[in-house]
Symmetry: C2
Subunit: 337 residues, 2 copies
């Protein structure tokens, strides 16, 4: 990040008619955006939720409350504008960019068709992906981000869709934060106690069968990850490389962000936090990235919904930077010493 | 609240294409608004931040980092549109309604001139207000709310301005939550360690001198409260009586909300939470009201800034209720049993 731009922004923030630092995270966002855009006058142009969709072979193990057919059904719902992420993106004046990175059966309709595979394989029986597939999915995410940047977008949110995808996310978070499986496994879309047990067992088995190398994020990703999770990681790395901030949504997105952080540690500086999910593993993943959630809404939907809501706060940060009066302009006395 | 309307909204929320309850607090907001407006189709019309300003005699004790002249200076800054609350209200399409309930010297300019007194008296030497003043300030808040409701506003945020006002707020919160003074006293606009000690001592002395009856919120309010805090409490009670939701801002506003809750317990159902302030007493006050903050931004500015940011989330809740597709519309499979 551009330290000089951030220092200039700090001077401006300190001159505004409020106690120094009293707008907390809004001030941090303003500085972070300046550091990322390398200017003391950061601006928001077009914004998009990069929504990556993929399916998961591990659903065979009964780890989700919803059947796999819901992935394409929800993808069509998104294409038709009826999903939560469409509603929240419209409110935040953001575009939803849906990419099929590997739903089990091909979609027809208006989305980016960048299919790497027909979903992942059942990770309890072997690697979820080949190394080539994992790399291709990473690259797909990067390409989508790059295309949008070339089209004038300069603020992203991560988003995802894929029945079963809290299972690979939990596996990734357990491995990359050195946590026990049960401490990071939650109920996803709403499985019951038996399902929760099956989910833990499936993850334990996948780790046992595949023996991922926790020092190698790519190995973790290919063995127990997902196509859309790889694409999220790729989009984050590309956003960072192109100096574009990216708001990290909930649990699955944060698993992708962990992969990005391990592959490209400098990408963390380009990540903005959003909400704290109900999924119990989310907090551990965020702590590893030193991200503190700004929204506390008990949400667990994914799709990028928490990140889209955060766009309002990012926008607020720049309005504050650009529109508030200074102590001098307003003739307000500064703090006594 | 209208239970029937809320039940209807719950049915609708459950029919939308998302796991049940997965939008957490957004779903609660939608139900709460329906219960308050007594309809299964709640709507947002005009919205306003009811910003109450007053001064505090206790500043003589050296409890604030800023001099008292900053209250009118900031009031003029608000009138001129340059304060943080102006910026954030513009973004949220809300109006800022500034009321002078009792700044030490009269303002000139475009605000509501409803002065009850030239600030409060120094509460370390006797009651901050007479009972008549406290009642008049309460009524002033209620009248301002009522006038705005008659002009078509149906969503409010509380806000305040008044150098020194974390001191009476801390006193109120200590008394009404049965907490020790030091456990609820923070640094306000930014006093140093010595100032913090003076602030604690001033509150202890005010309590000793005035012996407020903790079972009588009006007695607490008049003896250790503030004019703008009374007006906030009055505006909350009036909003509740008129079935209008009101978002409670930070520490000072929550002290006002505590007074409202004690005077009119049913008003709590009409309160919406906003952010969790840096002020350490805020959490205790919120817990007493059973309000959970939805924003976690490390803010400590007041003016209604956290509440204005929350308007985006309240709006999001209604967009979700009104615009999302149902499982049936979208042909999406429901949860397996």
């Amino acid at each position: 990040l551009d330290e000089a731009a951030m220092a200039k922004i700090q001077v401006r923030l300190n001159s505004l008619t409020k106690p120094q630092g009293s707008l907390g995270q809004l001030e941090h966002f303003a500085k972070q955006l300046g550091g990322i855009q390398r200017t003391s006058q950061p601006k928001l142009l077009k914004r998009a939720v990069l929504l990556m969709a993929g399916d998961h072979g591990v659903v065979e193990e009964g780890v989700s409350a919803f059947p796999q057919e819901v992935t394409p059904q929800m993808a069509y719902n998104i294409i038709n504008g009826g999903a939560a992420i469409n509603v929240l993106s419209r409110q935040a004046r953001a575009d939803v960019v849906l990419t099929d990175v590997g739903i089990a059966f091909p979609l027809e309709g208006n989305c980016l068709h960048r299919r790497v595979a027909d979903g992942t394989r059942n990770m309890t029986k072997g690697p979820a992906m080949t190394k080539k597939e994992a790399l291709q999915a990473l690259l797909t995410g990067a390409e989508v981000a790059q295309e949008k940047i070339q089209n004038g977008y300069n603020l992203f949110a991560t988003g995802e869709l894929g029945i079963g995808n809290t299972t690979p996310s939990s596996a990734i978070v357990a491995l990359l934060t050195n946590s026990s499986v049960e401490s990071v496994v939650g109920r996803g879309t709403g499985i019951d106690d038996k399902g929760l047990l099956r989910k833990c067992q499936a993850i334990e088995k996948a780790i046992e069968v595949n023996k991922p190398d926790v020092t190698d994020a790519l190995d973790v990703l290919m063995k127990v990850g997902g196509l859309e999770i790889a694409a999220i990681a790729g989009s984050i790395i590309q956003a960072a490389a192109s100096h574009v901030p990216i708001v990290i949504d909930g649990f699955i997105s944060t698993a992708g962000a962990l992969i990005a952080a391990k592959l490209a540690p400098k990408s963390v500086a380009y990540m903005l936090p959003s909400h704290g999910s109900v999924e119990i593993g989310h907090r551990k993943a965020l702590a590893e990235l030193k991200l503190e959630p700004v929204l506390n809404l008990d949400m667990r939907l994914g799709e990028g919904t928490g990140a889209a809501l955060t766009f309002h706060l990012v926008e607020a940060a720049l309005h504050i930077l650009n529109e508030m009066a200074t102590f001098e302009d307003a003739g307000v006395s500064e703090k006594a010493n």
